[in-house]
Symmetry: C2
Subunit: 156 residues, 2 copies
């Protein structure tokens, strides 16, 4: 157990702060589609199947927090439109998205058949999200790790 | 982009299914505390600071989905009580929890000071969630990966 867990505040918890931005079902589904390469409002709408106002709201939240950027484009003979692209900050959410997906693939997929494959472009091997340590030990389990207060820990 | 994204259904999406179980703020905070080693109702309540009925409800959800198990214990002179422990299925959520935390540490922590450290017991080095491929390439970015329909993909 985190030493003296109850002596520290959770007010500045990085998990809670992340969830305030992306911890809502529709927001994370928008993010999923962005990782699949979807960029246009109409395509998000088709892919996710939510109401237009929900999609507008979630896209605005992700733009506000610099997870997506809104870029204009214009096709021949059409008015100017906007598309939404992952920023560097957004792309950095890949481990979280892959980790949620692989847990679902392992425990919740019908007949253990994953609907989506993610592979490494360089060698075509499948990828996964793993816990690794700075000296190079891989695929660590919860039992192989230990938790302690960091420099930003706030005592109660 | 996932080839022909819009020709496939998202109805069996493993991310959406995972979120149906753990994609709710309080549920994920219960899970966070479980990874910190919290086991008892009163300690979850103190650590999270939510209402009792919310905590009861979220613990029940996690037990129902076999993420936590409810075990009885009795201290001398006290009535039987219950504690909640992560199952193997629950422990397997570590990469998702660490990935959400490290993104928050990187982009949302006050003064870039993480409130919590997670280290590898074997060598004390800090850990992180990374995308790795089956042949051993590490720390892959979104641009280094590609997405395609898996064996469970459902055409529309």
């Amino acid at each position: 157990m985190l030493a003296n867990r109850l002596e520290y505040s959770a007010e500045n918890c990085s998990i809670a702060r992340t969830l305030e931005i992306v911890g809502e079902k529709w927001t994370l589904l928008v993010l999923r589609e962005a990782f699949y390469g979807v960029r246009r409002f109409a395509d998000f709408l088709t892919a996710i199947g939510c109401a237009r106002n929900i999609l507008s709201d979630r896209l605005a939240t992700l733009v506000e927090h610099d997870v997506l950027e809104r870029c204009s484009y214009r096709e021949a003979g059409q008015r100017e439109r906007y598309e939404y692209r992952l920023t560097a900050k957004g792309l950095d959410l890949l481990p979280a998205v892959v980790a949620l997906m692989q847990w679902g693939d392992r425990y919740l997929a019908d007949g253990q058949r994953p609907p989506v494959h993610i592979t490494h472009r360089g060698c075509d091997a499948p990828v996964r999200a793993e816990i690794v340590c700075a000296t190079g030990h891989r695929d660590l389990t919860a039992q192989q790790t230990t938790v302690s207060p960091g420099p930003g820990a706030i005592a109660k």
